[in-house]
């Protein structure tokens, strides 16, 4: 991950001046989706880049050490070795960006990865994921526990009650405390955009999260009805750009929830390239939170290399 975002003092004036024109954002989103992307090796290279940005995720009630182990092994070797080899990418360290699990599964994941001699970071959701409706004390404790178990990245959720009622200072203070609890672990802040109501609120929540020292801002938990959409992403990355122009700190961006196809992952990369520039195009500043996306990318890469579409059972399962 890149240099950390130290955050800054709360600047309410900045937050209060935020203006977002919904229709203009929607139009921009359409325009980005209509950008034609090249085929062949460009598509393959971009897809591999998408792979390296994936936070390979399992967040289910029935997670056990065995499926977490499988997930970790898939994260270490996301694309079959022979496919990578024929593209000359087998020795370029193509792994996913991280694996992402619930706090109770962090220890399992760390163990599996250590056994496989991998330095892949383990990310953990925390702070009463997904609703965030638990007391601050237990939310902080959750963060500390995950870090103690070896999580290198913590995905926290914001308190939507504070955001919706405009208590930006209180939200800033909470996130500040989470950041302290994270210690050396990088903090990704989930805005749960599906529950924030307006683009303007999304922009404000993004700014406050970054001021409080988030290293990444993330669209959603994947558990709300509205997940990562391009218009919302445009609003968030514009906030990131705004923060960068003001402070010089680069904050990362992670869309999550509902990203399933290889084509979508390419649009996401194009969106980042258009709005933030090449500097953000890598796992240090861009992650895709997804679980089933990888399979579709593998399928496309298989087709690029062999000229055929594979049957599902031909690709290693996660």
């Amino acid at each position: 991950m890149s240099a950390r975002n130290p955050g800054m003092n709360m600047d309410l004036e900045w937050v209060s001046k935020v203006r977002v024109n919904t229709q203009a954002v929607l139009k921009r989103a359409q325009q980005i989706q209509s950008v034609k992307l090249a085929k062949k090796q460009w598509q393959a290279a971009w897809l591999l880049k998408a792979v390296t940005c994936i936070d390979l995720t399992t967040l289910a009630g029935d997670d056990t050490p065995s499926n977490v182990h499988r997930l970790c092994m898939k994260a270490v070797q996301p694309v079959p070795y022979d496919l990578l080899q024929s593209m000359g990418m087998h020795d370029k360290g193509v792994t996913t960006g991280a694996v992402c699990v619930y706090p109770s599964r962090v220890a399992d994941a760390v163990k599996s990865l250590k056994a496989a001699n991998s330095s892949l970071p383990v990310a953990s959701v925390a702070t009463g994921f997904p609703a965030g409706q638990t007391p601050l004390k237990t939310r902080l404790e959750e963060v500390r526990a995950a870090v103690a178990d070896g999580a290198a990245e913590i995905d926290i959720v914001i308190n939507r009650t504070l955001a919706l009622t405009g208590q930006w200072e209180a939200m800033y203070d909470e996130i500040r405390q989470f950041r302290e609890a994270c210690g050396d672990a990088h903090m990704k802040t989930i805005l749960a955009i599906g529950e924030l109501g307006t683009f303007t609120n999304v922009y404000k929540a993004s700014l406050v999260s970054m001021m409080a020292g988030s290293d990444f801002i993330k669209t959603s938990t994947g558990k709300e009805s509205v997940n990562a959409t391009y218009p919302v992403a445009i609003v968030m990355v514009r906030a990131i750009r705004d923060y960068f122009l003001r402070t010089g700190h680069k904050v990362g961006f992670k869309p999550a929830g509902g990203i399933r196809t290889a084509k979508e992952s390419l649009v996401w990369l194009a969106l980042i390239k258009e709005e933030l520039g090449d500097a953000w195009l890598g796992p240090h500043l861009f992650r895709l939170g997804a679980s089933s996306l990888l399979a579709d990318i593998e399928r496309q890469i298989f087709h690029y290399v062999t000229g055929r579409y594979p049957a599902l059972h031909e690709l290693p399962m996660a």
Binding site: A24, A38, Q41, W46, K49, G88, L269, E275, G277
Partner: protein, 792 residues
């Protein structure tokens, strides 16, 4: 992209560059091949490729030859015109429903062949989305269906010529062709080089959709020459033009005096303000500016105006966003040197550049460039060069932003960015342009009438208002008589002095009265101090002396008029209606005096004269009543958003009045003009000025603001010249000689004035109760503005 195939997956993985995405043009190539890559004319429903014609070569964006297009000669023109004349007969014989059906069928065909249409227009660099063409077809098909129901007093003109310049987009061409067809006219299209292939393809599709042969003809060649040759043919009834200003001016000058009305929409090359207020969503505004200013073929030269308080934040975002932009292709080497000269000139004045990279040493590529810190006086703002340049200026207050935006000879469009609703609507109202796009840019729809304000055009396109360009009142003959242009010395026209008035020895019992004219709310003598004699109806004696007005009187009048006009417009229609009612009352009060002056001047009986006064009172009341009726609307548009259609005053209108019905014609024209919020400078008939000069008392006694109505008497030609050469006057309504019409058509091109010309007198229309004259006057007194606000 040289060597692009040698890029390995790993190279691209590292650089994350975009790859090549060549659009396919196979369908277009196949169509061109089917025409052997030699495009000719489309006449009488089929393609013609006459031998031994000069050809022009059309190239694509890379400079490769696409096809050749022949240049039509005299013989082809007469063939085209004959075809159009017979086309008009068969087309106008159809029912409204049958015409509508053809257009609808064409919309279907566009869908079927959309790939071909897209590729052909892309390849010839006249890109146009088939969806927008389909919308045009559907919209005008509905007007074709409803013509007789909703426009019962109007008939088609006959043969309409549509001319567009080489750089005109296909959409603007079809925005002229379709309403002309829908109203039942036949059309001769003279497309520019880039629109020629698409125009031919669309003509083919229209014929397949059932358009009778000859209704749509395409003649290719050099636009101005060919356009003028076609216009010179007496069978052609009207000429309309879209494209760049130079060719428009040239066309107007060469067709002047041919006795055919030419309306002009110079949509290409206008410079338009892109205003970012501090209350804007800055990121979206910057995105919009980049999209608008740096697209490949842009018709509009944008000038970015940014409120000072957000200037730094706009510049920072521009820098960041532009870092990733590729170079834009310029049309020609000449353009490259223009662009370079403009950039150098701006830099010498201290402007700083925002560029992704330095310009490549040679070639037709140039990086997107923002010129920060230029001033309204900089050459790159006053005469913007083509290419990806965007001058940036700052302003202090909201009001100054609007003033900066308005301070341009052009009045085509403006884009304003603010989240403040009140500011948005106020700015939209104050900007003197045809289209205002709030938080958006470059949206069009045929249902909205827009007129180019100021130098940006002389006609209204779109909506019901845009149809009158292609219609004439059923009850009246055309106002211009076809003729061949006289050899007129434009420098000498109207310069003959009036004979000096000296006291004569003749003993007259009643000395002729010396009348005064009316300028800026005061009755006064002419600046020159001279007078001209007015003959009594018997032609033997001098009835009166009236002031010999000239250039300086017109100057004073226009100055007063332009000061008072905006306030008059702002008063609103109901207040204006009240003023007109009281003017009518005032006229009624002076009934006897007015009747006496008419009778003395024209030799009519007192009864007849009294009848004219009565009609005049009625006419003013009529205008007042129409004025009180609401105008403007919020038409429903297919795009997400809200659109407003607002009628606007033309500004200052110059009127040269006819000899007939000296009072009735005066109040008819005056009433319409001021009811719509205009100010007028009126020149009474040279022969019969006395009633108009008597009417001054009525105006003086009314509550009309001083300067709104000016009446200047004197030699008609001399005053016509004075009106024609005052750039503030936006429209001239002229009743007079064919030479005068020719002079006006030739002269009123810089800036363009909307001309309503009559080269011969017809007596009957003024007194007729028919509404078509009133409607026609009403349309001529208005220009239209559309406001777009994207909403969910």
């Amino acid at each position: 992209m040289a060597g692009s195939t040698s890029r390995t997956v790993h190279d691209i993985f590292q650089s994350m560059e975009y790859g090549p995405t060549g659009a396919s043009a196979a369908t277009a190539q196949a169509w061109l091949e089917s025409r052997s890559r030699a495009l000719g004319l489309f006449v009488d429903g089929r393609f013609l490729l006459p031998a031994d014609r000069q050809t022009r070569t059309l190239t694509d964006a890379k400079g490769d030859s696409v096809c050749s297009v022949i240049c039509a000669v005299e013989q082809d023109v007469s063939q085209g015109v004959t075809s159009a004349a017979s086309g008009f007969r068969s087309w106008s014989a159809l029912s409204c429903h049958q015409r509508a059906k053809v257009l609808l069928k064409w919309a279907g065909a566009l869908g079927q062949y959309s790939q071909c249409v897209v590729e052909v227009s892309d390849l010839s660099q006249a890109s146009c989305s088939p969806a927008s063409l389909v919308r045009l077809a559907q919209y005008y098909s509905s007007w074709a269906q409803l013509r007789d129901t909703l426009l019962p007093q109007w008939s088609p003109l006959g043969v309409v010529e549509v001319v567009v310049s080489d750089d005109c987009p296909l959409y603007s061409l079809m925005l002229k062709v379709l309403p002309a067809l829908a109203m039942g006219n036949s059309v001769i299209v003279v497309p520019g080089l880039s629109t020629a292939p698409s125009a031919l393809l669309l003509a083919q599709l229209l014929t397949e959709a059932g358009l009778p042969a000859g209704v749509l003809n395409v003649l290719t060649g050099s636009v101005v020459n060919l356009g003028a040759t076609v216009a010179g043919n007496p069978t052609v009834n009207s000429v309309t033009y879209s494209g760049n200003k130079q060719d428009g001016v040239a066309l107007c000058k060469t067709t002047a005096g041919a006795g055919v009305a030419v309306s002009v929409s110079p949509v290409v090359g206008a410079s338009c303000p892109f205003i970012i207020f501090e209350s804007a969503d800055i990121d979206s505004a910057v995105d919009g500016a980049i999209e608008a200013a740096f697209k490949k073929r842009k018709e509009i030269q944008w000038v970015l105006c940014v409120q000072e308080s957000v200037l730094d934040s706009v510049v920072a975002r521009l820098k960041l966003r532009m870092a990733g932009l590729k170079c834009v292709a310029l049309p020609s080497e000449a353009d490259r040197s223009l662009v370079e000269a403009a950039v150098q000139g701006a830099q010498q004045q201290g402007a700083t550049l925002i560029q992704a990279c330095g310009p490549p040493a040679t070639g037709l590529q140039y990086p997107a460039t923002v010129l920060c810190g230029v001033a309204p006086s900089s050459p790159c703002v006053t005469s913007p060069p083509p290419g990806p340049l965007l001058p940036l200026m700052s302003f202090r207050s909201n009001t100054e932003g609007v003033t900066l935006g308005n301070h341009s000879p052009h009045g085509h469009a403006a884009s304003i960015w603010t989240e403040d609703l009140t500011l948005a609507l106020e700015a939209a109202k104050s900007l003197s342009v045809g289209s205002v796009w709030v938080n958006s840019h470059s949206v069009c729809d045929p249902s909205l009438p827009t007129s180019g304000h100021k130098d940006s055009g002389t006609c209204t396109d779109g909506g019901q208002e845009g149809l009158y360009q292609f219609l004439q009142p059923s009850s009246s003959p055309p106002s211009l008589t076809r003729s061949s242009p006289a050899s007129l010395d434009y420098d000498k026209f109207g310069s003959a002095g009036s004979p000096a008035i000296v006291p004569t020895a003749r003993c007259v019992c009643v000395a002729p009265k010396f009348y005064q004219q009316f300028v800026g709310g005061k009755s006064c003598k002419s600046e020159s101090g001279g007078s001209v004699a007015v003959q009594a109806p018997d032609g033997t004696s001098v009835l009166a002396y009236c002031p010999d007005g000239g250039r300086k009187d017109v100057r004073n009048a226009v100055e007063a008029a332009s000061k008072v006009q905006p306030g008059w417009m702002k008063k609103g229609p109901s207040a204006r209606a009240q003023s007109l009612y009281s003017l009518a009352k005032g006229l009624e009060a002076k009934r006897q005096e007015m009747a006496a002056s008419i009778s003395a001047q024209t030799g009519l009986s007192l009864d007849e004269a009294d009848q004219e006064v009565e009609l005049s009172v009625g006419r003013l009341t009529d205008w007042a009543a129409r004025c009180a009726q609401g105008q403007g609307s919020a038409p429903a548009v297919p795009q997400a958003g809200t659109a407003l259609s607002l009628p606007q005053a033309m500004g200052v209108v110059g009127v040269v009045l006819p000899d007939n019905k000296p009072l009735l014609s005066l109040v008819t024209l005056l009433g319409a003009a001021i009811a719509k919020g205009n100010a007028v400078v009126m020149v009474p008939s040279q022969r019969y000025p006395v009633p108009a000069l008597t009417f001054i008392q009525v105006v003086q006694a009314s509550d009309l603001p001083a300067g709104l109505v000016n009446i200047i008497s004197g030699a008609r030609d001399q005053l016509t010249v004075a009106l024609a050469n005052h750039n503030v006057i936006k429209a001239i309504w002229y009743w007079g000689s064919p030479e005068g019409c020719q002079y006006l058509q030739h002269t009123c091109t810089g800036p363009f004035k909307a001309l309503w010309l009559h080269s011969h007198e017809e007596d009957a229309r003024w007194a007729q109760p028919s509404t078509s004259l009133l409607e026609e006057t009403w349309h001529n007194a208005t220009q239209w503005k559309s406001v777009w606000i994207p909403t969910a």
